[in-house]
Amino acid sequence: MSIGEYIRDSQIWKSIFRHPAPYDRRNRVVVMLTNFFLHLHPVSVKKQGIALSYTWCMGGITFFLFLVETVTGVLLMFYYRPTLEWAYNDILALRDVTTLGIMREIHRWAAHAMVITVWLHMYRVFLTGSYKPPREFNWVVGVLLLVLTLLLSFTGYLLPWDQLAIWAITVGSNMARATPFLGHEGPGAQILNLGGFDLITNASDARFILLGGRFVGENTLNRFYILHCVAIPLVVAGLIAIHFWRVRKDGGISQPL
């Protein structure tokens, strides 16, 4: 008995992998169906469907970059404190004194790349007509993922807490003032009042909830940190799972049905 056979016969191995190696067509199907990670994917795809010239692998690259962001992001959280006192200093320390603090640059460049690849992925899906039935719902999930990717970029932008970050978020969040009904300078906000008492003011509108104050301050830094590190990534991870699963259910990677 070889070492390989010994391992594959052990109870530990069998308790983790419920089926033997995919040595024939039937077992290849069974392995795909019984593995949690693989079951999101189609059992088989047509060769033309995964031709690089056809898919550009932009969805795959985007997912890879999301994994890079997750790993580097979690590591960066060990050295970054989202407070007025420490945020900017911790960013400088990552550059100057932390071993492998270059992780932050990887995180930043991967973020830029992810925004680009997610657009190119959408562009490719549009050009190949892969948004058409029965894949319309998956297009909608993709649009949500695009918006969430941009929001991840926006919230991450504030965290270095330098002048560029503070003013970019000041300018960006000023748009929320003009939200219909929910922004204090938006259309319809005047209608929402009770007996002459305005319900939507600069201390109760959408911008106030986003910033946690009337202007970009410590509450904002904390809120954006939580949105960037916890809230949005959780939603994105869930939607990615649905997105991949729907690729399988809707007839595989882009190809004529």
């Binding site: 300018v171 201390a203 104050g213 410590e218």
Partner: protein, 168 residues
């Protein structure tokens, strides 16, 4: 009769209750996100007597903490006025700088420029800077109130609450 029976059925009741409590929970969560205590500078504050502010000057000492310039000038409609301009660019909300040499407020973000009066004359800003409330309080000090604002293009700068006129 069948309709009434349906509306009173446990099925409809259960779903109505679930929907109702979900909406209440959603609104409560939105309310939870609004902090009740803000660590922000007061919106109403005293800035000293009018004699602290010389004619033809822009005081920038209050910008960092309170976000206002105190301007004393006779260039707006020929009157000798002290008023408080909010240090928020009317383009996208950055803080312009007062350039004494060029006698203008200049925004570093996109280059908007404003005269000492607060009127915009260059760059993308679509309208003049905003004045906030100012008045002479009982103890002889000027008091600025940032909770009220006055926009020139809406004709609000003629409101006496938007300036303090220096006489004599």
């Amino acid at each position: 009769m069948v309709l009434v029976a349906l509306l009173l059925s446990p099925f409809v009741l259960a779903w109505t209750l679930l929907a109702g409590t979900s909406v209440i929970a959603l609104l409560a969560t939105a309310r939870f996100m609004m902090p009740n205590v803000l660590i922000e500078p007061p919106r109403k504050f005293k800035i000293g007597p009018a004699s602290d502010y010389d004619l033809g000057t822009v005081a920038t000492k209050l910008v960092a903490q309170f976000g206002v310039w105190i301007v004393h000038t006779d260039q707006y409609r020929g009157k000798n006025l002290i008023y408080a301009l909010a240090s928020v660019c009317t383009h996208l909300g950055c803080t312009p700088s007062w350039l004494a040499g060029e006698q203008k407020f200049k925004c570093p973000c996109h280059g908007s420029g404003f005269y000492i009066t607060g009127i915009n004359f260059e760059g993308p800003a679509p309208r003049p800077l905003e004045r906030v409330g100012i008045r002479l309080s009982e103890d002889g000090m000027l008091e600025v109130d940032k909770s009220i604002k006055f926009q020139e293009e809406m004709g609000q700068w003629i409101d006496p609450a938007s300036y303090y006129e220096v006489v004599g």
